[in-house]
Amino acid sequence: MNNRKLHKKEWVSALKFTFFSIFIGLLVGAIVLAFSGYNPIQAYSIMLSGIFSKPSYISYVVIYATPLILTGLSVAFSFKTGLFNIGAEGQFIIGSLAAALIGGYLNLPAYIHVPVCILGAILAGGLWGAFSGFLKAKFNVNEVISTIMLNWIAFHLNNFVVTRPSIKREGMNVTQFIADTARIEILPKWKNCEAALAFREAHPIINDLLRTPLNAGIIIAIVTAFLIKYLLDRTSLGYSLRVVGDNVNSAEYNGINVKKNIIISMLICGMLAGAAGGLQVLGRTRNVAELAAMESYGFNGISVALIARNSPIGCIFSGLFFAMLTYGGPKIQSALGAPREIINIVIGTIILFVAVPKLLSILKSKFKRTIINTKISKGDE
């Protein structure tokens, strides 16, 4: 069998196992629901219709997926290069803060404002990530722990900035809305003018879509996924980063500067998560607010990456899947009164199964052993 075929075979079996994990996750969710006295079939059909039955629902799934795809890419990139970026959460916060400040407090012409905001978010998130890389390269601080600390530092820094009297809005702990020149929502102004309202009445599907803050972020997220794939597979930088990820010793032996690579890798991770935060502000929230708890875009990125098995293109699909769960899931609470946290149980179970790629082979060998043992003991009789 040639390499390509082998590669394809692995890929297909990985995909099968992913679907198996998702199935088990949903099954466990159904069992928990049933035990708590809810009808799981009813719950899942509410979720499904809450995801697909209206154009605006689908639009919301896409909007939910945008930051998740990018934070997923951030974590997947770190895994591919031998690191574990738990810090996407903090990098996301810093990116969104940068975008909100540039978008809300800087006057720039349209067409320049948006790129400057996005670049600002990417740069800020990137530096936040690179700092963890620096701590690892220079002081040998495990990035898992430093990024966790930096998540909380980013969290409180965000709250510090948005509560400054010179920045906050009157009476609320939020930043000013970003300028119209910085928005990436589709036709935000036109939407509500009279001509548009007449047009929307004539086209109910478009009307429904325009009710949502549908924005250009998803396109950027998808393009970024392909760029990351290209970077990893087709460039010498991507190659050297992956070699460091595979085996530090052999990378050093081959003359690759491991420390520099760690910093670059964390820089790119941070840039991706920062972009996620920036697009979220430009496309959807239009400001940042004082946080009471982590919003989990970064943490969910870890799950997105794991379900995608660190494939950049896979992150697009797993990001969409995750968005469906987090958008459609809570609808069972209003409809059935069933706790929305069932979604966390489903996701946790999926991840638990993703963690055990050897599950089936181990089960098989155990099963075989029992058969052999029983045969042997029968033979003894």
């Binding site: 009164g337 638990l352 055990v356």
Partner: protein, 312 residues
């Protein structure tokens, strides 16, 4: 109350949940299994402790239930990591979804749709030395208001140290964490001992969570744990995978929280106005600084996080 006693007593109070959890992590990692799921176990423990204490009317039953809850989640982690050779970190991450997921799910069912439990009031964990010392003496200020859990946490440090360093079981645990193959060759049941340390670690993390919800505070709410499991995780690294080291690290975290509280007093703010957000950031900044200055000398058990596979 004199400020020195206040800072010390607050330090002890806030260290206790971290000490339980960090000791659990030390046990688990000494035996070769990384446990990033401590946060989720703590979270579930915090809920179980408060909920069961509320319904049973007895904080000790709540405390025990929290241990069982943490242990059950740890059992899941052990099945994945030991039996099915899972990637320890990913499995731990899954626990961090499943623990809070079940906690909030059950909370909504048991507390009429709410994600917080009802206050325990007089069913809170008791204070054994209350009124034992002369009122407002230094010792009274320091120890009088400490709950049972604080004393248990501190007592557990030498207990875990003793088990790890002075018993046959401890020797086996350490051998497995360093070189499981050698331990296996000597006839030690690697899987059995790893199950033991992971579950024991989960029980302790559950206790840690309950300490938050029934001793430090008197109810469970969704933000009660917020990263403390992860702080305990870094305490393990600071503490160089030793119980006494983890204790010191937890005390440093508790101390920085206490300092934050004192700096937040209105009398202090009048002279030295530090924004509350910066105070909240302090424990994390301090721990990062300590990490940078100490961690270089910290060495993990050499086989930690690598699932052990027997050759057949």
């Amino acid at each position: 109350m004199d400020i020195f006693a206040f800072v010390l007593s607050t330090t002890f109070m806030y260290s206790a949940p971290l000490i339980f959890t960090a000791l659990g992590g030390v046990l688990s990692e000494k035996g070769g299994v990384v446990n990033i799921g401590l946060e989720g176990m703590m979270y579930f423990g915090a809920f179980m402790g408060a909920a069961i204490a509320y319904y049973s009317g007895n904080p000790w039953i709540g405390f025990l239930a929290a241990g069982i809850g943490g242990g059950l989640l740890a059992l899941l982690h052990a099945v994945a990591c030991v039996t099915f050779k899972a990637n320890n970190t990913i499995s731990g991450l899954a626990i961090n979804f499943i623990g809070p997921g079940f906690a909030l799910f059950l909370s909504r069912i048991m507390f009429d749709g709410a994600t917080y439990t009802l206050p325990l009031a007089d069913k809170k964990m008791g204070m054994p030395l209350k009124g034992f010392f002369m009122k407002d003496s230094f010792l009274d200020n320091l120890l009088g208001s400490q709950c049972h859990t604080t004393f248990i946490a501190f007592l557990l440090v030498p207990v875990v140290w003793f088990i790890l360093q002075k018993t046959r079981l401890g020797l086996r645990i350490r051998a497995i964490g360093e070189y499981p193959k050698a331990a296996d060759t000597l006839g030690i049941n690697v899987a059995k001992i790893q199950y033991f340390v992971v579950i024991a670690g989960g029980v302790l993390a559950g206790f840690g969570g309950a300490t938050l919800s029934i001793a430090v505070s008197s109810a469970f709410n969704p933000t009660i744990v917020t990263g403390q499991g992860f702080i305990a995780l870094s305490a393990i690294v600071f503490g160089k995978w030793k119980p006494q080291g983890a204790l010191v690290a937890c005390l440093i975290f508790g101390f920085s929280t206490a300092i934050g509280i004192v700096l937040g007093w209105s009398s202090v703010q009048a002279v030295f106005p530090v924004p509350s957000q910066i105070l909240a950031m302090l424990p994390f900044v301090i721990s990062l600084v300590i990490l940078v200055s100490f961690v270089g000398k910290s060495v993990a058990p050499s086989s930690v996080g690598i699932p052990y596979e027997k050759d057949n």
